[in-house]
Symmetry: C2
Subunit: 478 residues, 2 copies
C-alpha cells in the first residue's frame, strides 16, 4: 500500500449492491484485473482466504478416505466428445489449444472446463476388479470456461476449485457418497463460513451436464439473491458405459461402476463477501480469516507502547490466533479503517492508559462493540470473542434467510415478492418443465432446489394449479 | 490394486537405468500416462509426495515473508513479447490458445511456460512507492512447455512447480533474495530429501532466458548424471524497464525495482527416485514419505493378531508418525514386496510370537536390517529409526557424489571419465563460451555450475590451456 493511499468510502450496500461488491473486492485487495478480460488475479489476501478454505476442506476429504491426484490440464476433443450430454454442455465454452510450439496440432485440445472425461480415461486403466473400488479421488486446480460476462469470484473465465471424482461398485454406494459430500459442504459452509444453507436436489433442467441427479447447497446473500455454493452429482453408470470402464464383481461378473463428482470453488469467497460484508467493507468469518486479530498501538510514539503491543501479538499468536501487529507510522484512523475494510474480526488496541491499567481494548468487526480486558487474559478473551463473532454472523445470516423466505401459492405472488425486494419463494411444484420455464418467464425466478426437508403436504403448482406434493425453492440467482 | 497383481521383478538399475526408472514410476504407482503425449497423470502416491514437499517448502517461504498468489493461466502473445530474451527462449515451446468458445481470438494466448511477464504486468499496477517494496510473491501451479521428448517427472509437457517472483528497491536486496532462496532449496534438499547438493552459479550459456544471473543446486544421481534440482534468478531491472514498472524512492526519485524469480518442480521427485532407489524399487526419504511406517500383521488369521497390529498402528500414528496398517487378505510376501516397491521407510511386523513376547519387529527399507523391540517402545524406536534412515540415505548419496567427483586438468581426461562411467569433473575454466561449447562437443559434458566454494588457486582451462582461476563442474545432465 502506498503511503498516500486514501481511505475512501465505498459505495453503500443499499445504494448499489453490485458496485459495493466490486469496491470491496478491490479495496480489500482480494483480486486485481489481468490483461485478459474475465480472468482475475488472486492477490495475497484473497488467496490466503482460499488457502484456509482448502486446508479445512482437504482435511475433511482425507478424513473420509479421499486421495488427491493431478490430472492433465488439456482434454483432446475426441475424449470430451465421448459423453454426449457432457460435451453439449461444455464444448461451446471451452478455450481451445490448436498449436503446440510452432506446429499446428492434429487434434485440438480443450483446456479443462471440468475433468470427468480425464478421470474416466484414467479409471479405465486402473479399475479392473471389485478390489479396485471405491476410487475416491479429488483434485485442486483451476478450470477455464469462456464465459461472456464476468464478476470477481462469481464468474471468472479461469477459477480455482476442487473437483472430487469417485467410482463405486454399486449405485447405492455412489448415491451415499454423493450425499456424504454434499453434507460435508453444508457443514463447512455453516461451521466455518457462517453461511446457513438449504440442502436439496436440483430439477432436471438445472442439473449438471451428463449427471442423473445433482444436489446443491443454496445460500441467501444480503441482497436476497441466491448463491449456489456447492454441488454434488450422481452419474449412475453413464460415463462408465461411454468410456467402457468395467470391473469383475464379487460374483465374477463384469459390471459397470457407478460414479459421482462434486465441487466447490472460489465462488465461496464471493458468498462470504455478500453474506457478511457491510458498508465499511469486508467482514470475515473468524475461522477462515487470514488475520483473526490485528494489534494496533495507540500513541505508539510514547515509550513502551510498541513493546507492549508486540508482547500482546506474541501472546495471541502463541495461543494459536492468527495475529498481526501494525506498528507502521500510519495514523490510528487509517489503520482502523484499513482493517475494517479487510474484515479482520478483532482489533486489539493498546496505548499508554491501557498499559498503566494492565489492560487492552478489543473491538469487534461485526458489531463495533469495544471491551476492555486485562492484557494477561487477552488471548482467552479474543478466542471466545472469535466464537461469538462466528455465532453472531451465522445468526444474522440465518435471520436474513428466514425473514426473506416466503411460503407462496401462485406465480403472481412470487413475482410480487421479487418486485418488493426479493427473497426465496417456497411453493409446491408439479414437476413439469413448462411450469418451471413459466416461473422464469413470468416471475423472473429460477428453481433453486427441492429441499431434503419436504413437508409431505399436498398443494397446488403455482403455474398450472395441479395438485402436487413436492416443495421447491425459487429465487433470483447469481 | 487387483487381487491378482503380480509382484514382478523390475529391471535392475545396472542393467538399464532408464528402464529401471520407468519401472519404478509405474510399479510404485507414482504416475500414469494420459491420452496426450508427454503429459502425465500424478497418481495419489506420487501426488502425496508432492504435497509433502509443498507443505514443507511453503512453510519455509512463509517464514521468510513470502505470500502466495494466483496469476492467470494464459499470457497474451503481446505480453510475452515484451522482454526480448525471454520470449525468444519460451515462445518456440508454448502451447497456444487460438479459440475461445466458438470464436477465433483476435490475439492468441500462450499457456504459461513460466509467469515472469504476468507478475510484471501486475506489479506495474501495484508498485508505486518504496513503501510498496519488497513484493515477495510465490505461486503453486502447473506450467506447460511443448517439449519433443518426455520422461516421468524429469520432462513433462505439463508439470507442477512453484515460482517465486519478487521485486526489491535495490539490486543488493534482490541479489540477497536470490541467494536466500537458493539456500532454502539447498537446505530443503539436504535436510528433507537427503540429497546432497552443489551450490553454484550458472554460466551465461546456461542461465535462464532474460536473467542476469542464475544460481543452481546440482545433485548427482545414482547413475552419476547431474540433476539441476532448483534455480534462482537475478534479473536486475531488465523486466522492470521492459514493463515500465517504476517507483518513487525515499529521495523522491523515480527508479526501477530489481527482480528475482526462483522455482523447484516435481522434478525433485525424479531426483528422489534416482538418488535413493534400488533394485527392489523406490526408497523414500522418511521426512517426505507419505507413509513412514507400514504395519504388517504376520499370521493374521490367528486370534488377536490384527487387534495387536491395529493397536500398534494407533500408537505410532498417535506419536505423529504417518502410519498405515495393511490387514487385507493378501500374503505376507506380497505385502513385503509391495511396500518395498513403494519405498516405505519402515515395515513393522507383528505376529503371534511377537505378541507373546510383547514385541514387534522393525525392518528398514534402506538396509533391510531387522530389529526386535518392545511393542510399548515401538513409537520411539520408529522415530529414531526414521532419523537413522535419513542420515544413512544422505551419507550414501554423499559418498556417491564424492567418489565420483574428479579434479581433472584436460578435456581428454573429462571425456575418459564419461566413458569410464560418468561423474562430475571439476576443472578450471577461462570463461570463454567457445571452450564451454568445445567441452560439450569433445567430452560430451555441459557446465553444471561455478561452485560458491572456489579454491582460489590458479590453473589451466581444460580446452584452451589459458591460465585462469574459476573452478567449474561439468557433467552429463538430465
Amino acid at each position: 500500500m502506498a503511503q498516500d493511499k486514501k481511505v475512501e468510502a465505498i459505495t453503500a450496500r443499499d445504494a448499489d449492491f453490485a458496485q459495493w461488491f466490486t469496491d470491496v473486492c478491490r479495496k480489500a485487495e482480494l483480486v486485481d484485473y489481468s490483461s485478459i478480460k474475465g480472468i482475475f488475479i488472486y492477490r495475497p489476501y484473497g488467496y490466503a482466504i482460499w488457502e484456509n478454505i482448502q486446508h479445512i476442506l482437504d482435511g475433511m476429504f482425507k478424513e473420509t478416505g479421499h486421495e488427491n491426484v493431478y490430472m492433465p490440464l488439456l482434454i483432446p476433443e475426441s475424449l470430451l466428445q465421448k459423453e454426449k450430454d457432457h460435451v453439449e454442455g461444455f464444448a461451446p465454452e471451452c478455450a481451445w489449444v490448436t498449436m503446440g510450439g510452432v506446429d499446428q496440432l492434429e487434434e485440438r485440445y480443450a483446456i479443462r472446463p471440468t475433468s470427468e472425461t480425464l478421470f474416466c480415461d484414467h479409471y479405465k486403466n486402473i479399475i479392473h476388479s471389485w478390489r479396485d473400488l471405491p476410487k475416491l479421488y479429488n483434485q485442486w486446480c483451476s478450470v477455464l470456461r469462456w464465459e461472456k460476462t464476468s464478476r470477481p469470484f462469481l464468474r471468472h473465465r479461469e477459477f480455482l476449485w476442487q473437483e472430487g471424482h469417485t467410482m463405486h461398485a454399486t449405485a447405492e454406494d455412489a448415491r451415499e457418497e454423493t450425499l456424504r459430500m454434499l453434507e460435508i459442504y453444508a457443514r463447512f459452509c455453516e461451521e466455518y463460513l457462517a453461511m446457513p444453507v438449504i440442502r436439496g436436489r436440483k430439477t432436471d433442467k438445472e442439473k449438471f451436464n451428463g449427471a442423473e441427479e445433482t444436489y446443491t447447497i443454496e445460500c441467501m446473500m444480503h441482497d436476497r439473491k441466491a448463491l449456489q455454493s456447492g454441488t454434488s452429482h450422481y452419474f449412475g453408470d453413464g460415463f462408465a458405459r461411454a468410456f467402457d470402464i468395467k470391473f469383475t464383481d464379487k460374483n465374477n461378473q463384469l459390471a459397470y461402476p457407478h460414479q459421482t463428482s462434486w465441487g466447490v470453488s472460489t465462488r465461496l469467497i464471493g458468498g462470504i463477501i455478500m453474506t457478511h460484508g457491510d458498508d465499511n467493507g469486508l467482514v470475515l468469518p473468524p475461522r477462515i480469516a487470514p488475520v483473526q486479530a490485528i494489534v494496533v498501538p495507540v500513541a505508539q510514539q510514547k515509550e513502551g507502547v510498541v513493546e507492549a503491543a508486540e508482547a500482546l501479538r506474541k501472546a495471541l499468536a502463541g495461543a494459536g490466533i492468527r495475529t498481526k501487529l501494525d506498528a507502521t507510522d500510519r495514523s490510528l484512523g487509517w489503520k482502523c479503517a484499513e482493517y475494517e475494510m479487510r474484515g479482520v474480526p478483532v482489533r486489539v488496541e493498546i496505548g499508554p492508559r491501557d498499559i498503566a491499567e494492565g489492560k487492552c481494548c478489543l473491538v469487534r468487526r461485526d458489531t463495533g462493540e469495544k471491551t476492555s480486558v486485562p492484557a494477561a487474559e487477552a488471548a482467552d478473551a479474543v478466542k471466545s470473542l472469535l466464537d461469538d463473532i462466528h455465532a453472531n454472523l451465522f445468526a444474522m445470516a440465518k435471520k436474513n434467510l428466514e425473514d426473506n423466505t416466503f411460503d407462496l401459492a401462485t406465480w403472481e405472488e412470487v413475482r410480487d415478492m421479487i418486485q418488493r425486494g426479493g427473497g426465496f419463494a417456497k411453493t409446491k411444484w408439479c414437476g413439469a418443465l413448462e411450469c418451471e420455464l413459466a416461473m422464469k418467464e413470468k416471475a423472473g425466478v429460477s428453481s433453486r432446489c427441492m429441499p431434503f426437508e419436504q413437508s409431505g403436504t399436498t398443494g397446488k403448482c403455482p403455474v398450472c394449479g395441479k395438485e402436487c406434493t413436492t416443495d421447491i425453492y425459487w429465487g433470483v440467482a447469481y
